[in-house]
């Protein structure tokens, strides 16, 4: 941990002095996404016990109201800890949800969670899916009682958090620790940054296009700016369902945030289809088509979206080839 901080600080100086070669900078950039560097609040620092306990809870169906749904049922590893459907029907009522299940990729570095950033930390986020009547429908008081009465959990919580009585906050903390540990940093792109492999011509061309045309919202190394943008999906933002269709504006109550949603990462993008907050695009090509000819005007529209983003066929292919280098078979649990 210490060593990595030192490297970051050193990088800062180098950048300020303008004296560093690009390969050094990229190498350090890649190392930012590492287990040692996971940001976590003081009250919930990362430990192996906490992560292991969180993983156990993540797979435990007894956290749900009907005992049939676990977190993992909507956040499957081979779908980048997301899902392969636009709007999930895997909650306890099997009613379609209103939002596409977000893939859990490097979420420790985000600054707001849920598609519109309503959750201000990962621990608080946990209560959303746990208690939502159409997701896990948990009655927190019952869950807490069951976990305290469980044959294994009290001992594990005692070891992980040094507590005798488990409260809902401790359950959220353990789940958060596990979700923070879901790191994608073993892609071909990361190997390239570490100087372990070379990129082909098309991969390099694709990388350049992504840097110049997409990089303002999808910058390396996370390939998201963790910010919120209106990319012109809609022009009407209904105030029904607790302003659910207003995006970031339902949190900030600012007109200028209408229809803004969090920038999704491009990492593991082919595993996390369909795309956008409501999963309206099935394929990457549909996303390209939207940027080319589907952007709807609105005063909150991102400046980058005011001109269409046109890519010719060859450029599209090169971008797709580059995006393939962001697939991480270790993270996706596909490595032999």
């Amino acid at each position: 941990m210490e060593r990595n901080y030192c490297r970051l600080i050193a990088l800062g100086f180098l950048v300020i002095l303008g004296a560093c070669g690009s390969s050094q900078e990229e190498d350090t950039q890649a190392s930012i996404i590492s287990y040692e560097n996971i940001p976590a609040p003081k009250r919930n620092l990362m430990t192996d016990e906490r992560v292991a306990l969180g993983k156990m809870l993540f797979h435990d169906k007894s956290l749900s109201g009907n005992g049939k749904v676990a977190c993992v049922d909507c956040h499957e590893q081979h779908y980048a800890f997301g899902e392969n459907m636009a709007l999930s029907t895997n909650g306890i009522t099997q009613e379609p949800l209103h939002r596409n299940t977000p893939p859990l990729i490097n979420i420790a570095w985000a600054e707001g969670w849920f598609w519109e950033g309503g959750a201000k930390n990962i621990e608080s986020l946990m209560f959303g899916p746990l208690t939502h009547p159409n997701e896990m429908g948990a009655n927190l008081k019952e869950v807490v009682k069951d976990i305290n009465d469980h044959p294994e959990y009290p001992v594990l919580f005692q070891k992980a958090y040094q507590i005798k009585t488990i409260k809902s906050a401790h359950i959220a903390r353990a789940l958060a620790a596990y979700c923070r540990s879901l790191i994608s940093n073993q892609s071909k792109y990361d190997q390239y940054l570490n100087g372990e492999i070379d990129f082909s011509y098309d991969e390099l061309q694709g990388m350049k296009i992504v840097e110049t045309r997409c990089g303002s919202c999808h910058p390396a190394p996370f390939f998201t700016d963790f910010n919120y943008h209106n990319i012109g999906l809609d022009s009407v933002f209904s105030d029904t369902l607790e302003n659910l269709f207003q995006g970031r504006a339902r949190i900030t109550l600012k007109e200028e945030d209408m229809g803004k949603y969090k920038t999704p990462t491009l990492r593991n993008i082919f595993a996390s289809a369909p795309y956008t907050h409501d999963g309206r695009f099935e394929t990457i090509d549909e996303v390209f088509d939207h940027y080319e000819s589907g952007i709807l005007p609105h005063k909150s529209l991102a400046p980058q979206m005011r001109n269409d983003i046109d890519l010719n066929e060859e450029e599209r292919e090169q971008v797709k080839i580059f995006l393939t280098t962001l697939m991480d078979s270790t993270y996706l649990g596909l490595k032999q």
């Binding site: 930390n121 008081k141 906050a169 903390r173």
Partner: protein, 268 residues
């Protein structure tokens, strides 16, 4: 007279330096206890009587409604002594006042310094230190049903019930009010609180719950520069924003700031 500016400076310095401290020094052992008792009342036909669920009430605009759930957070109870510069802020002071099945409307504060206090203040709501995370234990535990799950934060005042329309049909009455702008602090300086023995004081407050929609015995008074504000709330004005964080909720917050009345202080 010529020393006045220095006194002023000293006063300001003391004021600023004490802002960040949770506990001032008291040279007395602390063993006292105070119980804050909140009597939840509501106007019924001109009388302030205990709040009852499922009883039809009328607001200043003659709109009829009933409650079936009322809860609120009282937080950051603070006692100030006669100098006004020494004070004791109760640590981790977040208290859910609720009347769900059985009335739970008292706060017991133990281990207080034995001193003479002339002011007690507390806030309605949850300060932004605690309001930016629902990862909390005690009365802030999200299992208490006062946390939002899509927008991190707490409902400061939770009102549920029904509106009864002129044609006798009903609509939901839901005011879940939160957000920094609606966090309000109320102060009482009318009586001395002499915690100079190992005693147990009970301070009773009447809480005029009907004032959340405006005190109908007073005229509307929207200007805070003139005096205590009093807004008549139109229950038809119920867009989502206006029942959680919007402009209407700030009027309700102005109103709930006025609903507490110091009743009496007794020594047990």
């Amino acid at each position: 007279m010529k020393y006045l500016p220095y006194y002023l400076l000293l006063f300001l310095l003391l004021g600023f330096s004490s802002c960040d401290k949770h506990k001032e020094n008291f040279d007395v052992p602390g063993t006292g206890q105070i119980t804050l008792k909140f009597n939840l009342l509501h106007d019924l036909l001109g009388n302030q009587i205990p709040l009852n669920y499922n009883t039809p009430y009328q607001n200043a605009l003659n709109q009829t409604y009933l409650f079936d759930d009322f809860r609120m957070y009282i937080s950051n109870v603070t006692l100030r002594d006669t100098t006004g510069t020494h004070y004791y802020k109760v640590p981790n002071s977040y208290h859910l006042i609720e009347m769900i099945d059985n009335a739970d409307t008292s706060i017991v504060i133990k281990d207080l310094p034995n001193s003479n206090f002339t002011e007690i203040n507390f806030s309605v709501g949850v300060d932004n230190d605690a309001n930016y995370s629902t990862d909390q234990v005690g009365d802030l535990d999200p299992a208490n049903g006062m946390a939002w799950d899509w927008n991190t934060g707490y409902k400061f005042v939770y009102l549920n019930g029904l509106r009864i329309l002129p044609d006798s049909s009903t609509r939901g009455l839901v005011y879940h009010i939160g957000g920094d702008a609606n966090y309000r602090t109320v102060r009482f300086t009318q009586k001395d609180i002499n915690l100079n023995q190992n005693n147990n004081l009970t301070i009773e407050f009447d809480v005029h719950v009907d004032y959340v929609f405006g005190n109908k015995n007073l005229a509307e008074q929207p200007n805070p520069d003139v005096g205590p504000v009093n807004h008549y709330i139109d229950l038809n004005d119920d867009s989502t924003n206006d029942t959680m964080f919007g402009p209407n909720t700030q009027k309700i917050a102005d109103n709930y700031e006025q609903m507490f009345e110091w009743k009496e202080i007794t020594v047990d």
